[in-house]
């Protein structure tokens, strides 16, 4: 409960700022609509209004401000509108037994979650194996590490369509495969970097101690480096799973995808339904929050079991 208070405070502040921002964001469109409905405005035509700032538009047409909070296709919907849209595409459909309908965000979230988890598993495995290779081999350290860093400087939005095209050229029909690959591509890097740091974290004296026992390299790995890396691993897993989710959503953006939260965002854009975009965005954020929280709990439990946390 003590942790909830600061989080709630920040949440309320964000909602307040969001709410206030709705009026200036929507005023021009709202005035255009009001003009078409026959209202008298200051200034009268859309062309003239282009020259005037949103602030003075709001001052001079204060009667229309209410409209900005109740638009059908707002530039910026209110938190309430987003919540309503989210509810009607998730909870309400679930109550009606249509949770897995193609219009339900639960269905699209599930598609995204699956690819994210596959990408996360793949990326984590690659990251850990790469880190072990880097820590134990000077050659790999010098050859692999620069490429790992370069790989992350290539914009993923440029790379994602290529991965999708290549995988369909290879005859992989299932869209989930390239999505998981893109997801793993973003996810492996934080895991790799964190694990390298963790495996290298034992002090010299601790390695010297094992040397006096004439411990083998494998014993040193199992009894010292691996346990010492666990806190680092969890920290990077939390970054990694968020990156995996972003990767999956980016993988759903290129045309062709019809399911997944990324596809919902794209479709919402193409059909001019901003509420759908916002609902999908919030759903993605909630999904990321849940995944990171689960890992956080796993971290606490593991570290407490290991005796590394009170």
């Amino acid at each position: 409960m003590r942790n909830a208070l600061p989080v709630l405070t920040v949440l309320i502040a964000i909602l307040a700022i969001w709410y206030v921002a709705v009026a200036p964001m929507n005023i021009r469109v709202a005035l255009d609509q009001a003009q078409r409905a026959g209202a008298v405005l200051q200034p009268e035509t859309a062309l003239e209004r282009q020259e005037v700032s949103v602030w003075s538009l709001m001052l001079r047409n204060s009667a229309q401000i209410g409209q900005t909070y109740a638009m059908e296709r707002p530039r910026l919907p209110t938190p309430g509108q987003v919540a309503t849209e989210l509810w009607s595409t998730t909870g309400e459909m679930a109550l009606n037994g249509r949770a897995m309908s193609k219009r339900s965000l639960i269905y699209h979230g599930w598609i995204t979650l699956q690819s994210t988890l596959w990408g996360f598993a793949l990326g984590t495995a690659l990251g850990i194996l790469g880190a072990v290779a880097i820590v134990y081999s000077r050659v790999v350290n010098m050859s692999l590490m620069p490429w790992a860093i370069i790989s992350q400087t290539v914009p993923i939005v440029a790379l994602a369509p290529m991965i999708i095209v290549v995988s369909s050229q290879l005859g992989i029909q299932d869209r989930a495969v390239p999505k998981a690959i893109i997801s793993a591509y973003l996810c492996y890097f934080p895991v790799l970097v964190g694990m390298v740091k963790g495996l290298r974290s034992p002090a010299h004296a601790q390695l010297d101690l094992l040397k006096t026992y004439n411990a083998s390299g494998f014993q040193a790995f199992l009894k010292l480096r691996l346990p010492a890396s666990v806190p680092y691993l969890f920290t990077s897993l939390k970054v990694g799973i968020a990156a995996a989710l972003v990767g999956t959503i980016v993988g759903e953006l290129p045309t062709g995808a019809i399911s997944g939260l990324g596809a919902r965002i794209l479709i919402g854009d193409q059909f001019g339904t901003p509420l759908a975009i916002w609902a999908a965005l919030v759903a993605a954020a909630v999904l990321a929050g849940v995944l990171v929280t689960l890992l956080d709990i796993a971290q606490r439990v593991t570290l407490r079991r290991m005796g590394m946390a009170p």
Binding site: T212, N214, P227, G307
Partner: protein, 292 residues
Amino acid sequence: MRTNGGSDLIRDLAATQYCCQQEKTDVTIQPAINAPVISAKGLDLTFQTGDGPVHALRDVSLDIGKGDFVSFIGPSGCGKTTFLRVMADLEQPTAGQITVNGTSPEAARKARAYGYVFQAAGLYPWRTIGGNIRLPLEIMGYDRADQDARVARVLDLVELGGFEKKYPWQLSGGMQQRASIARALAFDADILLMDEPFGALDEIVRDHLNEQLLKLWDRTDKTICFVTHSIPEAVYLSTKIVVMSPRPGRITDVIDSPLPRVRPLEIRDTPEFLEIAHRVREGLRAGHAYDD
């Protein structure tokens, strides 16, 4: 404190842990007592650092006999730790020879001939105190029942009896240091290399552990190399006191102590004791004067 139980524990330890060596020791103790276990001749060690070479050891020659208790004393930076690390094959000398048990330090290390107590306790935070002591036993492949018995024994020895299941962060710094000593005592190594093991402890506990260590040494015939900054501690414990001085690190005096093997704490008030202490102090002063 469970002081009165201490000597019994030591006897137990000596009787059980070293039962197999007992026979051998009885037969060989007379002729072998001064055969060098560690023998260094003309050791030189220069570290190449960013600000130029650091001459950590120069022309260090020393013979340490079986069953000797040798203290190394000298100002900070005179190479005490470096010398111990050379014995332990953790550092390679740039010149000179050193043998341990008649072989190279590397061979001795691979034969697990010594236990090393580092300046910092260095316990694994993810292992309990018992688990930390078990670490060398696991690595050396002792069976489970033997591990349990040894852990219990050495924990009693350093008076951490009830702390087997505690984690290092639940213990004071001094208790952690005692646990690290127990870790080095848990397996059968003839040589004990201790780098300022009691530096972090209060005077009373330190006295007590000094007494315990002497008893352990007396009954087990271990060869002990012990680094300290305390003159009384060095004189009280040692059969041989090595005085070192810095820049470059070298040996300036080696004092063979005439004190008997069995030493009650009160021996520290005898004239013989004070005389040796005086000589050590003079040696340390001379080292400093040489520098200035």
